[in-house]
Amino acid sequence: MSRNDDNWLLRVRNLTKIYGEPNDKTLSLTGPLFNSNICPETDSIVACAEIDFDLYPGEVLGIVGESGSGKSTVVKLLYFDMEKTLGGAWLRPYTNGLSNILEESNQKKRFIRNNLMGMVYQNPRDGLNFRFSSGGNIAEKLIMAGQMHVGDIRARASDLLNKTEVPVQRMDDRPSLFLDEVTTGLDVSVQARVLDLIRELQQDLGIAMIVVSHDLSVIRMLTDRTLVMKDGRIVESGLTDQILQDPQHAYSQLLVSSLL
């Protein structure tokens, strides 16, 4: 899998999310240099800013950082759970990567969500509709992706339900999957099974994934490349092994030394 400039799957440029009313200086007065993501002039909060990265087909990209560093915000923006303030994202399977998916209409966004992306939330409640049965929840995803044959849906649903009881909800053949703190809050034995499952999926189906976690062991086990985030900015990016063995940024060094 060559990773040249042209074969990216998901391209993210200048992705920014600000709460409140920012002014011209907001972005230059926040960030890791100031050790804060709150603008001293306007009190607006910079959840994430100037996020640039490419995700390549079949690759697993990790995002690490402390609580409040904006790592979940990034995937939620990409999965349309939140509205971006600035920036854009381009997805290769959608219009060959020519249109900014964050500026599409709601219908188009839903199509992309249902057919080209998947998300596994930290809290299963966010991804499931508790008014429906577990089979119904799987059926909903399949129906949304255009499957209208009850027999097929049932076969697929029971297949998936037998596979695992862990909170993994979307295992369709989507080109990209976002995992937001999947193992946080699970006990170790279940955690290991979830990680096994994710690796299996990744290897069997070649899905590109973004794994968000504050757990460096999860990142080390799953990912090829890693972004380190702090105060809404990317402070370091590179091969996972490299970052864990030889962190360059002061914050990455702190993170590695405190968690390993």
Binding site: N129, E140, V150, I153
Partner: protein, 301 residues
């Protein structure tokens, strides 16, 4: 019927004032322009309380003219209380001719049934609707359901049909089976039984729906495609009356009511009272035709 003139003169023709009638007619035009779309309207005060047929009554009174012939049924019957009272009221306020005869009527108001006889192009069919929102059972917030309609996002509706089938082996909608109108909006066909659903499809008459309590109007124009929601392998089917028959006529290709006699014995009778009368009196009948009924008739031959 000259004595009714005294009411007609005391009130505006058809009770509602002209400005409000105009408002309702404009909303109806919008509803006809977007088949299946629910249009909010004023739902003005009536001498009966909201939820007792005011929606249908608003529509009737807004569209009725002096030359109209009015028929009203409640659950298929011309003689039940709701129908009698509303017929009397409309007659008092308009002095229009009223009738039981389906073919003679130009304006038919109904509660929960479509007549068995085929409707024609000169007829307007008006429904009293208790719950206009088909998505209410799966989504309780109005702003959400509106957004879902706007984006044609009906996945939740489909899942509830799926779950109903998985749990019960059939899609359990006794009445008000959701339909898709003109390949776009999912619509609650007022709670008419499944038997009647195929009769809205490609109908020659104009169908107008009024929900007074919920303050919504919607419409199905003539010759519009109306399809019940169905899966590729689990299909919609109307009620099955093949093992029963009407105790008066022996007919079983009409919607049947269950009837208990004083001795406890169970019988079935045709629900549409005018259809039953005509059949008993051997009058000529022109029943609706749809693919389900045609199949039934074909099987019997």
């Amino acid at each position: 019927m000259v004595e009714n003139k005294k009411y007609v003169n005391k009130y505006n023709f058809a009770f509602i004032d002209e400005a409000t009638k105009k408002e309702i007619r404009r909303k109806l035009l919008k509803a006809v322009a977007i088949p299946g779309y629910q249009v909010p309207y004023s739902s003005p005060e009536m001498p009966i309380s909201r939820g007792w047929g005011t929606g249908g009554l608003h529509v009737t009174l807004a569209v009725i003219g002096k030359a109209d012939v009015f028929k009203i049924i409640d659950q298929g019957s011309d003689a039940s209380v709701n129908a009698c009272n509303l017929r009397e009221f409309v007659h008092m306020m308009t002095n229009c001719k009223t009738t039981y005869d389906t073919t003679e009527a130009t304006l038919i108001q109904t509660r929960h049934r479509i007549v068995e006889e085929e409707l024609n192009e000169n007829q307007i069919y008006i429904y009293q609707v208790p719950q206009p929102e088909p998505l209410r059972s799966v989504e309780r917030y109005e702003n959400k359901t509106r957004q879902m309609h706007g984006e044609a996002d009906y996945a939740k509706m489909w899942v509830s049909l799926y779950e109903s089938f998985v749990r019960h082996g059939d899609i359990m909608f006794g009445a008000g089976y959701p339909v898709k109108v003109n390949d776009r909006y999912v619509m609650a066909p007022s709670p008419i039984p499944k038997w009647d659903i195929p009769n809205i499809n490609d109908s020659k008459a104009l169908h107008l729906f009024g929900a007074g309590r919920e303050k919504r109007l919607y419409a199905v124009p003539p010759y519009t495609k109306v399809e019940p929601l169905e899966f590729e392998d689990v299909k919609f089917h109307p009620e099955d009356f093949s093992s029963y028959e009407c105790f008066k006529t022996g007919y079983n290709k009409a919607y049947l009511d269950e009837l208990y006699f004083d001795d406890g014995s169970k019988h079935y009778v045709i629900n549409d009272s005018n259809f039953l009368d005509k059949m008993v009196g051997h009058a000529p009948l022109n029943q609706h035709s749809n693919k389900y009924l045609d199949k039934l008739k074909h099987e019997q031959e």
